[in-house]
């Protein structure tokens, strides 16, 4: 069975010129996303991890069609977004929805929850009567674990976790196929984070959603994702099924991220790799392997050319020239 992945990017690039063509010439460019080719299989969750500034949100925005990519293609259900007709685009805008990090700033404080949830419905289902819209809003609210009668309340009457549920309801009310969630649990307390993660997991299974789940929290990614992509300076350096990535990392950067992630279970038992320095500026990335300035295993050859994201086994790709390394897993064997 070879089903077409719902999302496919091919050599996707998103560059930002630093100061726009002062003399019409080419100024310095920030290569926020620099050649990303990934597939997200239908009904699966792809977790995207990497340090701050690695390009996760920029890639997410390019996938959502919120920015015009500098190069490369983004295909949704076989439709190339750059060549889609306006009616195709309108349908794509319904089928692809987002949930944001900060539920408060993304909700209009002057709109009741009923109004907030009706806006996307009015746009995408104009035929729906006012009372049907209200029913749908109340149903959706219960689906995300809030009492239906809360639809007449306003955002300030809700806690952070509840507002995040409303953000999820707003994304789901138009029955999308795909959800991009960017740092959606990062601002939440641990006990509430668990409630929201469980809700995401349940809805994803019940509604057969495909998801891009962006976070810097490796334990969260390990819990919710079927596949994980690790980004460094605008590139995907490793891609694997979740279990494979955590138990058999093949890129030194992944190993370093796993070893730095704090865990109450194995703090003293794991090998600890403390990387030197910060992530380099995307304006002036190192030649060859971009990770080499911080990589504990770098050798002379690493500076020559950018390592390709190579397939090491089905469902596992990594961009490192060294196959002789045995890297430490996060999991207890």
């Amino acid at each position: 069975m070879n089903e077409l992945p719902l999302i496919q990017t091919a050599d996707l690039k998103q560059h930002f010129p630093l100061h726009k063509g002062l003399f019409g010439g080419q100024g310095p460019v920030i290569r926020a996303v620099d050649g990303v080719s990934i597939d997200i299989p239908r009904r699966s969750v792809l977790g995207l991890v990497g340090e701050s500034g690695s390009g996760k949100s920029t890639l997410g925005r390019a996938i959502m069609g919120l920015s015009r990519p500098t190069a490369g293609t983004m295909t949704f259900d076989g439709i190339d977004m750059a060549r889609a007709s306006s009616s195709e685009l309108k349908s794509l805008r319904r089928r692809m929805q987002m949930v944001f990090q900060d539920p408060f700033s993304s909700l209009n404080p002057r709109m009741s929850i009923a109004e907030t949830l009706s806006v996307p419905l009015r746009f995408h289902n104009p035929g729906l009567s006012r009372s049907r819209r209200k029913d749908r809003a109340a149903e959706m609210l219960e689906r995300v674990g809030l009492p239906g009668q809360y639809i007449s309340r306003f955002p300030h009457e809700f806690s952070g976790g509840q507002r995040q549920r409303i953000g999820i309801a707003r994304a789901l009310i138009v029955q999308p196929d795909f959800i991009m969630a960017d740092e959606v649990v990062s601002a939440l307390d641990v006990s509430v984070q668990a409630q929201v993660l469980n809700l995401f997991g349940r809805l994803q299974r019940d509604l057969e959603l495909t998801m891009l789940f962006i976070t810097h929290d490796l334990a969260v990614v390990g819990h919710i994702s079927d596949f994980v992509a690790v980004m460094y300076l605008g590139r995907v350096v490793e891609f694997a099924s979740t279990r494979e990535l955590f138990s058999n990392p093949r890129h030194p950067y992944t190993e370093a991220l796993l070893s730095a992630a704090p865990s109450p279970k194995s703090a003293n038992r794991r090998k600890r790799i403390v990387l030197k320095g910060d992530i380099p500026s995307p304006l002036n990335p190192p030649s060859g392997c971009q990770f080499r300035t911080r990589c504990p295993y770098a050798v002379e050859d690493c500076s020559h050319e950018v390592p390709k994201l190579r397939e090491l086994s089905p469902e596992h790709k990594a961009a490192c020239i060294r196959d002789d390394l045995s890297l430490a897993p996060a999991t207890q064997q």
């Binding site: 641990v190 668990a194 409630q195 865990s263 109450p264 990387l275 996060a330």
Partner: protein, 335 residues
Amino acid sequence: MTRVLTVENLNIGFRSEGRELPVVHDVSFTLEAGKTLALVGESGSGKSVTSLGIMRLLPPPPQSRARGKIILHSDEDIDLLSISEARMRRLRGDRIAMIFQEPLTSLNPVYTIGDQIIEAIRSHRAISARKARERAVELIDQVGIPDAAARLTTYPHELSGGMRQRIMIAIALALEPEILIADEPTTALDVTVQAQIIDLLRRLQAETGMAMLFITHDFGVVADIADRTIVMYAGQMVEHGQTEAVLETPLMPYTSGLMRAVPELETAGLNQGELQSIEGFVPNPASLPNGCAFHPRCTHTLSGICDVPPVPFEDAGNGHLVRCKRWQSILENAE
């Protein structure tokens, strides 16, 4: 073991609409030289208010009021709650220093980092500008920033988040304080940089013998840095003990609930099903539930017992303290 600070029955309240709302209830602990005590809890549990109370950085009375004792031990014992503001100002930075979550808000954007370190030194010590400058270079070097001398002339916005936090640590340690209070110093940083900062703090502690009060909401970080741990809930200490004891045999249902709510790195990708969440919300500290403050959310609640005060903070053995009326029967049932 040298005790450097004793906090005894610290109570802190804020004035609101004409009455005082208590937000920190009877907090007591000691800090020892060369050791780290972690204060863990969800947001609003009173961690920052406790640490600001110790530093006397809360709004002045009547807006806020702190009661109890905060004893700084040295040749003589000094109760920080009863000394003058002028005397407190001399101790702050010199004997007790503090670093915060967001270093950019505590660094002044218009001065170079060199000026800020030198000012921190010279405001407490009568030494020459040249000597202070030498010390600044030494400190920048000590916190692991390369090219220390050249860095003196850089401004905060030219540095990454991790570097700014290193500079804050350099300023905090400039006068070799006996106590460092760190309020979520790594929460805003990437895990890789967090690991660097934790390593740095541990190394500096080994070198200087300072005592640390480390505030965090992350049990993984606790495991990495703390000798002893206090868990706070709604302004109260609910568990306190050796870090291994608290993490391996948590006795308070809130502590074990929090630990189960975090996904585990070790079982990533194994399809562990749902996380065990704690239902409901942290109560407002101004209107705590009767009896055990956790009882409306606890899966072990017994009515007639858990909702009846007082709930003593009991020693379960080996100095492992727990505020739960049912810890013994819960432990027996688990075994």
